[in-house]
Amino acid sequence: MAKKSKKRNKNIQPPRIVNRDMLDKARGSSLLDIIIPVFKRIDLLKQCLAAIPEAADGIAYDIIIVDNGTPREDCEQFYSTLDNFKGITILRNKENIGFPKACNQGVKRKNAPLILLLNSDVILQPKSILGMVSKLDDPTVGVVGLKLLFPDNVGELNAKIRPAKCIQHIGMHTDIHADFKHIMVGWHEDNPRTQNWVDPYAITGACLMTRRSLWNKVGGLFEGYGHGTYEDVDFCLCIRELGLRVVLEHNTFGYHYTGATAETYKIQFPMIMNKMTFMSRWGAKLNYTEWMAL
């Protein structure tokens, strides 16, 4: 009898459900790699790191800090205190290589099945990582974001554009001009209108979790965006093209200072150039979505 030829299924297989306990016990390795690009603002990085254990609530993780050229005098002392911590790796770049490249660099360093990109000015709240990981138990989900609020006290940052404990991020959608916008920024968290939890079109790279298998498939963040902006939306659209969902974990949340480094050090991003790059990649495929979420 002739052997049946096994045709390779060239379609992407839905990822297996990740059983956290099984993985932790059997492999003794981390479930999650947390990549934190940093440029100065070590004060915020300290807060960010301090919040992670409670946010993870038992999930095994490694942290990869990718330092983008922070002057040694600003960070050496703090980094030296991290040397004795198992599970924290620090990659030092001589200059600021930008957010997309730094993330790609950090992801390559380790091998956990799940990846979390985390801005250094995001302070995760208890069980938020657990909540995001749980969302990825659903094999139809490719990317998970997190509800983010402005913190209570933003120090010397402009408080007028960061209303305390109000919404900073519950997803991004396109307006009638196909421009991506954060919806309901500055709205009160308990406003019933913010509870309409439709899947966002995209989520922010300030707190983005995905599977390494998908990351590798897509090729990570597109480095054509230079220092950054649009790379998170681009990644989400790549995941959507694979037939997977982008979702938001909204039962927990994090505080996000939002642009703390950029505002403190007056860093500008090539928004117009990046928008042109983005539109050349995705312009013909965008849908109008904000009407569903508002």
Binding site: I176, M184, G186, W187, N191, P192, R193, Y288, W291, L294
Partner: protein, 395 residues
């Protein structure tokens, strides 16, 4: 129950259409309909209304959103609350629209020109916000027109107590003896703010046709301790240079100018501290500020024409005669110019209490114009359209 897309001007800094859209859409939701509002001028401000408001910067964005919704959400009906000429633009752009079209609009002057009447005739139903406007539409041959009696929330717009009035006047730095005239109107030609300001100046100086020149020549001094509160859009491209006009009329020291978009509490407070409300528009589709004034039992003076005459009839307010009428390019409508002398005499009459409108009757009239009533009219229109479609199917 229906899926309704509502398109209107929803500028949160306050537009007349905003004041109509929000309560009516809330009532429609409470009646079980699903409502999405396409907000022309809406900038994403936080709100707690039980329906979505989708931003649209301008009319063409609004049309684009409407067209997208017609494909993506498939509404049963579009209710569009805008000026007639905008309805014309919208219906031309969506000639093969897959939903029924109900228009809500003011008819702000008489007569209704034929081309605008024809716009109304193309709708499944047209709803006009004043009885005056409804009659003008019928005179022009529109048969699908109904009066939509829009109102205000009289629980919110309550009558201030004497204590509240006193303490608010103190907080605004007003003496108890000061006579406060209030005008709430946009800074545009039709609102004729120059006439109100002239009337106030003539009232204060007790002299006709007051100007800075006359004040100097005749050494005029104010005869009355009075204030003029004006809530408007100070910097309007086609509006008056209000502070210069105040200077010219010699009322710079008396005028208190507030930019439109004040919060409700502050707005109510300004009505509460006033002694009289004055509106000298050349025509009005209705005049929501007049309803607000009537609701707080503030004596109200307005030009004796169009929607204003309807609201203040039967001594519910005092009507200023007009001394000139002309035909305006906007819809060929008549514009009525308030008689300054007569208006000034009415201000005097209110002050010396020789002329007092029936403010109790005014309040009662406004209480009868509830949003529930207006929503019921709208609901019956929707039902009529639905029944018409059912009848067509069976035939």
């Amino acid at each position: 129950m229906s899926k309704i897309v509502w398109l209107s001007d929803t500028d949160f800094k306050s537009s007349g259409y905003f004041n109509i859209t929000m309560p009516l859409c809330s009532e429609l939701v409470s009646l079980g309909h699903e409502v999405k509002v396409v907000g022309f001028g809406y900038k994403g401000e936080e709100h707690y209304f039980p329906f979505s408001i989708i931003p649209a910067n301008n009319l063409s964005d609004s049309l684009a959103v409407l067209q997208n919704l017609s494909i993506l959400w498939k509404p049963d009906i579009a209710i569009v609350a805008l000026d007639i000429w905008m309805h014309d633009n919208i219906m031309r752009s969506m000639q093969n629209r897959p939903f029924d079209y109900v228009g809500i609009m003011p008819v702000e002057s008489d007569p209704l020109c034929l081309s605008w009447a024809m716009v109304m005739m193309q709708m499944q139903k047209s709803l006009v916000i004043s009885e005056f406007g409804t009659q003008e539409a019928k005179k022009a041959g529109v048969t699908n027109v109904t009066h939509l009696p829009v109102g205000i929330d009289t629980n919110l717009w309550r009558v201030p107590t004497e204590d509240e009035r006193k303490s608010l006047r103190t907080s605004f730095g007003l003496e108890e003896s000061a006579f406060v005239v209030l005008t709430v109107a946009d800074n545009q030609e039709r609102k004729n703010l120059a006439a109100s300001m002239q009337m106030f100046a003539d009232f204060v100086y007790d002299h006709p046709h007051v100007s800075d020149t006359l004040i100097q020549e005749l050494n005029l001094t104010p005869k009355v301790d009075a204030k003029y509160i004006l809530i408007t859009r100070e910097f309007s491209m086609l509006g008056w240079k209000l502070r210069e006009l105040a200077q010219e009329f010699g009322i710079n020291n008396q005028m208190m100018l507030f930019e439109r978009g004040v919060g409700f509490k502050e707005l109510w407070s300004l009505y509460a501290i006033a002694d009289v409300f004055l509106l000298t528009s050349k025509s009005e589709g209705l005049g929501m500020p007049i309803l607000e004034s009537m609701a707080v039992k503030l004596p109200t003076i307005a030009t004796n024409c169009t929607g204003m005459a309807e609201l203040l009839a039967d001594n519910r307010g005092l009507l200023v005669d007009y001394d000139y009428v002309h035909r305006d390019p906007f819809g060929n409508g008549r514009r009525y110019w308030a008689d300054i002398t007569h208006g000034t005499s009415l201000l005097k009459g209110i002050r010396d209490k020789s002329l007092l409108p029936d403010v109790d009757a005014a309040r009662k009239y406004v209480e009868g114009r509830t949003w529930k009533n207006a929503a019921n009219v709208l609901e019956s229109v929707l039902k009529e359209i639905e029944d018409g479609k059912e009848k067509q199917k069976t035939e």
